[in-house]
Subunit: 325 residues, 2 copies
């Protein structure tokens, strides 16, 4: 078994060597193979693993239209200006309703193409629950292995998917805008709690102070982050205003994380969740392998829907087939 794996591993070695040496096409190819869950995916990930974990991962989330792409764009430029290499992973919804506008943003960002210290990858949301967070985590590892210093992970929206994705990050930025009405209040439960840094973008608009005040009021209610109080940074990303302050807030948070092993603790938590999720996926693959075919699953669904079979008895039986007694 391990012999077979090694020989497959030798198969992906040249690809990994090339992506590590800065070959953008090799990087893109490795990402595609993993995204498409190719046979070599596990070996690519395994081969990249020793070289991952060195980058600072920054997750950026917030309501659609809050200007996240522009912030990411400006942050990336500032990092590049300082000689810091940057990978951007942008999670785009596949919805036909919003696809167009977001694609436009991505094309704008591609202006940075040709810069070997910069890499952008857009990923489409998948149907399957949890699937996107997994793929994003894997893609982030590969981009890290290519030697990027900072990985910016940008999501659209503020649902559970986004929370799962930004959990991959060392630092989470939540972007708000004035004029959201009661939307600070209405931000999905959970998103406020995960913010390490708040950005009030488009802060030249009326109401920016009110948004800041609301965040502060909520912070006083919320459970503490330890001794880190998430700062509120006002920006006008389109003109670049405040991006330097955001950069500074990130640097301060990074320093805080590097004190008292906080970064290690975050990453341990991260891996605890990731290993669990990876096992969940692997187990379901085993179930398939042990003969619960799509056809059989369909047949059970028909019988359960018709009240001919009790799912609360069926599932333990199906599990007993797969699992050692």
């Amino acid at each position: 078994m391990s012999e077979t794996l090694s020989s497959v591993e030798r198969g992906v070695e040249p690809l990994i060597a090339r992506l590590r040496s800065g070959d953008v096409r090799a990087l893109a190819r490795a990402v595609s193979l993993v995204e498409n869950d190719a046979a070599s995916a596990a070996d690519i990930l395994s081969g990249c693993f020793p070289y991952s974990g060195r980058a600072l991962r920054i997750g950026i989330t917030g309501a659609p239209g809050a200007g996240k792409s522009t912030i990411v764009d400006k942050l990336a430029r500032q990092y590049r200006g300082a000689g810091v290499t940057v990978g951007v992973i942008a999670i785009d919804p596949t919805s036909p309703f919003t696809g167009g506008a977001i694609l436009g943003d991505r094309i704008r960002m591609q202006e940075n193409l040709g810069d070997p210290g910069f890499y952008v990858r857009s990923m489409a949301t998948r149907g399957s629950l949890g699937g996107l967070a997994r793929t994003t985590a894997d893609v982030a590892s590969i981009v890290e292995a290519s030697g990027k210093d900072v990985i910016l992970i940008e999501t659209v929206g503020v649902g559970q998917d986004e929370i799962d994705i930004v959990r991959l990050s060392d630092i989470t930025i939540v972007v708000l805008v004035p004029g959201m009405g009661d939307d600070v209040q209405s931000l999905k439960a959970g998103i406020m709690e995960i913010a390490d840094i708040f950005v009030v973008n488009k802060s030249d608009r009326e109401g920016a102070d009110r948004v800041e005040k609301e965040v502060r009021a909520m912070q006083s209610l919320a459970t503490s982050h330890g001794d880190w109080v998430p700062p509120v940074v006002k920006t006008v990303a389109s003109s670049g205003e405040g991006i330097d302050r955001l950069n500074e807030a990130i640097a301060q948070m990074k320093q805080w994380l590097e004190t008292d092993s906080r970064m290690e603790a975050r990453r341990r938590n991260y891996w605890r969740e990731r290993i669990t999720e990876m096992m969940r996926q692997a187990l379901m693959r085993e179930v398939r392998r042990h003969g619960l075919s799509d056809e059989e699953l369909d047949a059970h669904a028909v019988r359960v829907a018709g009240k001919l079979e009790d799912p609360y008895r069926l599932v333990p039986e199906l599990v007993a087939r797969v699992v050692k007694s």
Copy 2:
């Protein structure tokens, strides 16, 4: 094995008999036991299963503040007026930020208390991915077994969680309001596709026609629902205006579902997903039972975070421990 189960089953039989006879306290107790994943949960669900699946399940989702609770309230009253029994399952976020307002809504709804044909249950969102959808499905089955004709499942927000929850429904209503700005555009990818009926609530406000037009424009882009074109119903739920038209749209959709076995097809799909999800949960429980303790998982997380262990090799090994070869 089956003997043991039957004797446990006899243990929950009186409870099920009581909830089936209309005893609200027995119903509430059964729901609590299942919500808390008590030892008797599987037997309660198994005992309720034969009596579930007869109700019409209606899911109601949409942006926070769109007036979903009021719509649910008015719909429930109209059903009760027509002699139709109603169960309401309201998914409330646990966030300290929004908890208060929503609790107020629920208290208002409790005015219907004392009516044996009406039952409301609020459920808090849980941290674990997919966990809430599972619990909601189980709770819906129990409420159905108590003999309710219609189950209204109301969520807050429009993320993946909500999509998973409304997938439990036979009919999904998405509530929009005028003055959301670009929010029809920004509604989470996926939510527009699952709508069977759109409601434009607060339609006495300026912009209701524009929201309707936007929905229509999106529908022309979207993949088809077969020959069902989701209607757009304008309401002013606070005054009750339009609720009769919403009721009519629901009745039409129900009729459509009952034609050409469409309802059966939806429920087969539902059970295919539910069985898969139930297996996923059961398998993870087996993993725990086979000795992957929290301590061991922590130890692996520490080693992986420290690059001392390759998770892409570890997970197959852990899975091999549990699964028959």
